[in-house]
Symmetry: C2
């Protein structure tokens, strides 16, 4: 990325630290060969994996099981032209029962709309990228409008 | 969708009205066969198409030209367990010059980080879906924790 393009690349640790501050993120996946996206609340596992709950019968659970998905969160302050975005990309796994489900039961946040047949989705943080919008204040040496 | 699942489906007109209130949205596309997502500021064309600007040489411009992409915006109030999300799905087109570029010049918002070689991306609003989180207050007749 161009050093003066108004963005600063963020390292993995910084990305995960910012991600932990976001109340909402978005799962990005493929549905019938088309791009799909759904906002969710989420938690982070100790290794940075993204954790969420969804009904077992949900389209999301069916679509992402075993697939590589992306998970995005951001915070942008339009007035200050400042903000950040982080994307976690990795394989999603459905966890239904066993000791791992017991562990996630304690770590994953409750659904916005709890359902009696929930499963856990765990998105492995294989690739974690992020950037901070630091803004460009001039172009061709001329200040940009505020 | 189950009538009591805590979500209400939104019609196209309502989706576009909400979309117009969002300062930020996210383009969802495919990059090297993997799901990718990037937050952007945007405008809406008179027919609901999503308009944005990006450098001609950007990865986004190269990746989405002619492809079907999704565009998502949302607003969620965690405390009230209320919110909405809207997704526009349709083919993306790069507009570089000609009368259409002149028209979009007046309609598309400025980039967060303006660049001298910008093009327009226009995402046709072929499919517009949205839902409102209305929350579920009880499960099995038992009030959920606030």
């Amino acid at each position: 990325m161009h050093p003066n393009d108004g963005f600063r690349e963020l390292g993995r640790a910084e990305c995960l630290r910012l991600l932990a501050t976001a109340p909402v993120g978005r799962v990005v996946y493929t549905r019938q060969a088309l791009p799909a996206v759904v906002p969710v609340n989420f938690g982070l596992d100790t290794d940075g994996a993204v954790l969420l709950r969804t009904p077992a019968a949900s389209e999301l659970a069916r679509a992402v099981d075993g697939a590589v998905v992306a998970f995005e969160a951001d915070a942008v302050d339009m007035a200050r032209r400042a903000g950040w975005s982080v994307v976690v990309t990795g394989p999603a796994e459905i966890v239904i029962d066993g000791p791992e489900a017991g562990r996630l039961e304690r770590m994953a946040p409750c659904s916005w709309v709890p359902s009696p047949d929930e499963v856990f989705i765990r998105i492995d943080a294989e690739l974690v990228t992020g950037r901070e919008l630091v803004g460009r204040r001039t172009m061709y040496g001329v200040p940009l409008p505020a």
